[in-house]
């Protein structure tokens, strides 16, 4: 009789099926869904790229067009949220979006292209204009100029000036 009791218990509970594709489901507050880069906030520093375990976030500098590309491939993302933690500008965050199916692999990419900044001394591109601008704005007046140099030049310039000071 247990056989019947189980079925009766089931009938008492009724249908639990959701209406999903026709009606949206309840999504929990914390759901870690699709990561989205806010291109206005992103400065192209690459912190997220370093933090990303599966290399879903990659970075490429193109000297020809003088652009830095931050490429987010959602198809490889494991939704760990490391990028969100790493981003100093709060530019990348995980949304609650989960319906990411796409017919085309290309649809799974988000590309953010930012202008490269060239060192005023050596002329080499080493980071983005936006990042340097933000760094400069955040620094006290007297340190600003040094921040506009690439690390290598900054080192040699400081060494140069130190040698002046010693003289």
């Amino acid at each position: 009789m247990n056989r019947i009791k189980v079925l009766l218990e089931n009938l008492r509970r009724g249908v639990v099926t959701e209406q999903y594709p026709f009606k949206p489901i309840r999504v929990p507050e914390r759901l870690r869904g699709k990561p989205v880069i806010d291109p206005d906030k992103c400065a192209g520093c690459g912190a997220c790229v370093n933090a990303c375990p599966p290399n879903a976030l990659t970075m490429r500098d193109d000297k020809h067009s003088s652009m830095r590309f931050i490429v987010l491939f959602i198809g490889r993302c494991i939704y760990c949220g490391k990028c969100e933690e790493a981003c100093p500008f709060g530019a990348i965050r995980l949304t609650r979006e989960f319906e990411l199916a796409a017919e085309n692999r290309e649809d799974l990419y988000q590309v953010v292209g930012l202008r490269l900044y060239h060192c005023p001394l050596c002329g080499e591109p080493f980071t983005t204009v936006r990042l340097i601008k933000r760094v400069v704005e955040a620094l006290p007046e007297e340190q600003r100029a040094a921040a506009t140099l690439c690390p290598r030049c900054r080192e040699s310039v400081t060494a140069h000036y130190r040698s002046y000071a010693r003289r």
């Binding site: 056989r3 189980v6 079925l7 089931n10 009938l11 009724g14 249908v15 639990v16």
Partner: protein, 297 residues
């Protein structure tokens, strides 16, 4: 009268062809509801069938003619049965000895598919069909015994004469009907006796190598087979009367199938040896019942 019977037969066959998958759809809905699911539309089995029939059969690598033809032979066998079994209309292309032909065609339809599947050489298919054959051989023996009992009780081998067997209310007939109910259930290959396909064990068992259209016909045959068996059971119970068949028959057909589904939902799968034991026991019971009928009860 011959042409009228032919017309009746054809109409009956059409009815069986159409209603088989529909009943399966209803069953799926019921099963889903018993498992707290919403379940597919009751036309779902029809949708599946239409899709399968539209797909090419893709018989790559399984070139045997037997493999290809057996499905259709089985299907045609069932079609012939549905021509002379009274279902929605109480008439059909009856002839002497059709009672024997009924059981012969019914079992051969299955055996053909199983042989065809066996010829594919896939190990799952061979195990699935071996299991299915051993079970259906056992259960068809019981079916034959029941038919012998019926023929004995109504002293005829003509289907139109033996229906309904309830006209002679003897203990032996009543027990026989009860056993027939169980055998119909087993022949439906429902859980716990669904061991030939056994999805989790044999990946579809005897159907494993069939695809597209072939598979569609196998599934269609299975639903028709189920419906025919149930129809036979009902024919033995209700009077051979136009009104009864037009009204009571469909109601009974659906309710029997629904009851069977509900039973099935509550069961797990038995192992082949345990299932065979059950069926053998039924067979012994039937021998007793035939003896009972012979001495006049």
């Amino acid at each position: 009268m011959v042409w009228l019977n032919t017309l009746y037969g054809v109409l009956n066959a059409c009815f069986i062809l159409l209603v088989g998958p529909l009943i399966d759809g209803v069953e799926r809905k019921i099963r889903a509801r018993l498992q707290n699911r919403r379940g597919p539309s009751i036309l779902q089995t029809w949708y599946d069938l239409v899709k399968l029939l539209r797909k090419p059969a893709a018989r790559t690598g399984v070139p045997s003619t037997l493999f290809r033809l057996s499905v259709y032979i089985g299907f045609v066998n069932l079609l012939i049965v549905s021509l002379f079994i009274p279902s929605i209309l109480c008439g059909g292309m009856g002839f002497f000895g059709d009672l024997i032909l009924f059981i012969y065609l019914l079992s051969s339809s299955k055996v053909f598919v199983l042989i065809g599947s066996y010829s594919s050489g896939s190990p799952y298919a061979s195990i699935g069909s071996t299991r299915e054959v051993s079970l259906s051989m056992a259960s068809e023996l019981v079916l034959a015994e029941i038919i012998a009992l019926i023929a004995l009780s109504r002293s005829s081998l003509l289907l139109s004469n033996v229906f309904p067997v309830t006209a002679v209310l003897r203990p032996s007939v009543l027990i026989g009907l009860g056993v027939l109910g169980i055998i119909v259930y087993i022949e439906h290959s429902r859980l716990p006796f669904e061991i030939g396909e056994a999805e989790p064990e044999l990946a579809g068992g005897y159907t494993i190598e069939y695809a597209g259209r072939d598979l569609g016909f196998i599934l269609w045959s299975n639903t028709i087979r189920r419906t025919l068996l149930t129809t036979f059971l009902i024919d033995l119970i209700i009077p051979l009367d136009v009104l009864y068949h037009l009204v009571i028959y469909p109601v009974l057909l659906f309710s029997i199938m629904i009851v069977f589904t509900a039973i099935e939902t509550g069961w797990g799968r038995l192992r082949i040896d345990i299932s065979l034991k059950y069926v053998k026991r039924l067979s012994y019971v039937m021998w007793g019942v035939i003896l009972l009928a012979l001495i006049g009860y």
